[in-house]
């Protein structure tokens, strides 16, 4: 008698496991082979001289690729692209606060019917393709034909047209435009943090006579910590992956100001013509930048979870 429930229990357990696998496997196999496996198959290629996707003569060359990317001619493409992307990341990160957090704090104060339509409008640019954002930027600020340029010239606000293809203008305008695209997205992240503050906490602080700055420092900011971490991770990782907006600005054509790291990888990997560098070297560059990035991402996410508990 004792054995019967036990065997049925084991059978049920095995059954459970089988069903778990049946339900998990389809997506997990696709996910694993297209997200995690790429890192694993990239590792052996890092130590070879594989030129392109079809290369039958592959030799083991040790750490030569890691040396090559810091030597001419590769370094002349690699370091400027990294530097450009790093600068972009810093300015782009400030826009998270200039746009996202400011909008969230303002939005949090109003309780009228306006709130919903305003949210809807501010969120619109996030719905548009990055390519579209880049093209729209050219439409507005191209030197001779940009609509905003022509408008400002007509009103007489400026004497000379803004030249978006000028490196120093582009370095500021591009991240601002990307910040504008993500304004609604970041606002939603911060607003999510603000809306989770219990109303009593704020009422209590008001009764105690705390002014806005004190409330911001002691109540809003700690409550938004988790949101800040999420926005930081998304912005840092996203900045190194910026591609669509740059392509819209002509990164694959003639515009050298927006040749970010991702554009360089794409050009070596897929555009082929006119780019020196082997596939293995492109992968080496990708991993040299991405592995530290992943570690930073994981550490920041851990920090966020720790604080949450």
């Amino acid at each position: 008698m004792k054995n019967i429930p036990e065997t049925s229990f084991i059978k049920r357990k095995r059954n459970e496991l089988a069903w778990d696998i049946v339900f998990l496997a389809p997506q997990f196999i696709i996910y694993f082979s297209l997200t995690i496996l790429p890192f694993l198959i990239a590792i052996p290629i890092l130590f070879t001289d594989q030129i392109g996707f079809i290369d039958t003569d592959i030799d083991y060359i040790g750490l030569q690729n890691f040396v090559n990317i810091f030597k001419t001619p590769m370094v002349d493409m690699f370091l400027p692209a990294v530097k450009k992307t790093a600068i972009f990341m810093v300015i782009n990160y400030t826009t998270v606060y200039i746009f996202g957090m400011t909008l969230a704090l303002l939005m949090y104060e109003i309780k009228s019917k306006l709130k919903k339509p305003l949210f809807t409008i501010i969120y619109i640019p996030y719905m548009i393709s990055g390519l579209g954002i880049g093209l729209i930027m050219l439409l507005l600020f191209a030197k001779d034909t940009g609509s905003i340029n022509l408008l400002l010239l007509k009103i007489g606000v400026i004497d000379n047209a803004i030249d978006i293809k000028n490196p120093s203008v582009s370095a500021w305008a591009f991240p601002l435009m990307v910040g504008w695209r993500y304004a609604g997205f970041n606002m939603a992240i911060f607003l999510g943090g603000l809306l989770s503050i219990p109303a009593e906490t704020i009422d209590a602080s008001k009764v105690d006579g705390a002014n806005y700055l004190q409330r911001f420092w002691h109540i809003y900011l700690p409550q938004m910590f988790s949101s800040i971490m999420i926005a930081t991770v998304i912005c840092i990782i996203g900045s190194w992956g910026v591609f669509d907006e740059a392509v819209g600005m002509g990164a694959l054509a003639a515009n050298k100001n927006v040749r970010f790291f991702s554009v360089l990888l794409y050009k070596i990997g897929f555009a082929g013509t006119g780019q020196s560098g082997t596939l293995a070297e492109a992968l080496t560059m990708a991993m040299t930048v991405n592995i530290p990035l992943l570690i930073i991402g994981i550490l920041l996410s851990k920090l966020q979870k720790k604080k949450q508990i």
Binding site: P38, L103, L114, T120, G132, D244, S301
Partner: protein, 340 residues
């Protein structure tokens, strides 16, 4: 007395905040307004500011045959056929002369070319076979991957919900890693896997697989929703002798409509707007809409009007869906942030 001043001051601050937000919203709308206007402004008029689409003069009969093609990107072979002109036509001949020689009234020619000149961008885009096909393919790919991807993520969530086993949380963590892995980071090895190992280069199926692979957001949404469903439902199905599949189809799927809508609202624009993966995995003749708009820059080099009209076309479906389900999108944006 001080109380009234306080209240007025508060009202004034709220008014000021609303004003700032309204101004920002207007600034946000302006670029899209100009995009629409510029899709009606011909390239030769684009160096002048236009607040509204300009009034264009009628087709000029004194313009030469050859100029038509270069200025307005008009398909002259097609025009010749539809106007029943035959034989060789000297590109330097004016249309008045052509009308005389071929015995066609100038009214017919003007009526034929007027729409091409006034709505050049839109006609160029909408009569282009490649663009129409890429629009259709984008719709097909987007909706099929939303349905299949949602279905797969519900299946994943149904197992992971509640983290009944230790290895369930490991799987969950592996899915969460997707949040810090951008497509650009892994595009080269992904191409090796899909293009070389599986032979899916230039195949829509490669894109489909990339769009249904799931990741942090879908798994998060469904896992957290399904863990809120009482386990008694599952047990009652088991008592009635049903298995997991029956529970999944009859109980779980109907219940997950709300999280599915959230999932769709977050995923739809990402799939629709994808540029990189389309560029990498497809050849130009098979491009989805956004890569196609990018390719237009090469085809219609100076016909900005057509590029902007194409961009409008690629943006419109997203905006229409976004505005018609705005409650859903706003809710998803906020809830996605809360769960992150």
């Amino acid at each position: 007395m001080t109380n009234i001043i306080e209240i007025n001051k508060k009202k004034f601050v709220i008014f000021l905040i609303s004003l700032i937000l309204i101004i920002y919203s207007i600034i946000t709308i302006i670029p899209f307004y100009f995009l629409v206007v510029r899709s009606f402004v011909p390239t030769n008029k684009s160096a002048v500011f236009h607040l509204i689409p300009p009034e264009l003069e009628d087709f000029n009969m004194e313009s030469t045959y050859g100029n038509l093609a270069t200025y307005y990107n008009i398909d002259l072979t097609k025009a010749k056929k539809e106007l029943s002109l035959s034989g060789y036509i000297n590109p330097n001949k004016t249309w008045t002369k052509i009308a005389e020689e071929h015995d066609i009234s100038s009214q017919v020619i003007t009526d034929y070319f007027n729409p091409y000149i006034k709505y050049n961008g839109w006609i160029t885009i909408l009569t282009d076979q490649r663009i129409v096909r890429s629009l259709v393919m984008t719709i097909v790919i987007t909706f099929s991957s939303l349905v299949v991807g949602g279905f797969l993520a519900i299946a994943t969530g149904s197992v992971l919900a509640g983290f009944r086993k230790r290895w369930h949380s490991w799987i969950y963590v592996i899915y969460m890693l997707q949040m810090i892995i951008t497509p650009v980071m892994i595009i080269i090895p992904v191409y090796i896997i899909l293009g070389r190992f599986l032979g899916l280069a230039n195949s829509y199926f490669a894109l489909f697989l990339l769009f249904v692979k799931g990741g942090a957001i879908p798994v998060m949404i469904f896992t957290s929703f399904i863990s809120g469903i009482p386990t008694t439902l599952k047990e009652s199905v088991e008592i009635d002798g049903g298995n997991r599949l029956q529970y999944f189809i009859h109980i779980l799927l109907p219940l997950t409509k709300v999280p599915f809508a959230t999932f769709a609202a977050i995923t739809f624009p990402i799939i629709w707007n994808d540029l990189l993966q389309g560029l990498v995995f497809l050849k130009e003749e098979k491009f989805t809409l956004v890569p196609m708009i990018n390719a237009l820059q090469g085809t219609f080099t100076t016909n900005y009007q057509a590029i902007y009209a194409g961009l409008c076309l690629s943006i419109m479906p997203v905006i229409i869906i976004y505005l018609s389900f705005q409650n859903l999108f706003v809710r998803s944006a906020l809830s996605g942030a809360l769960k992150g």
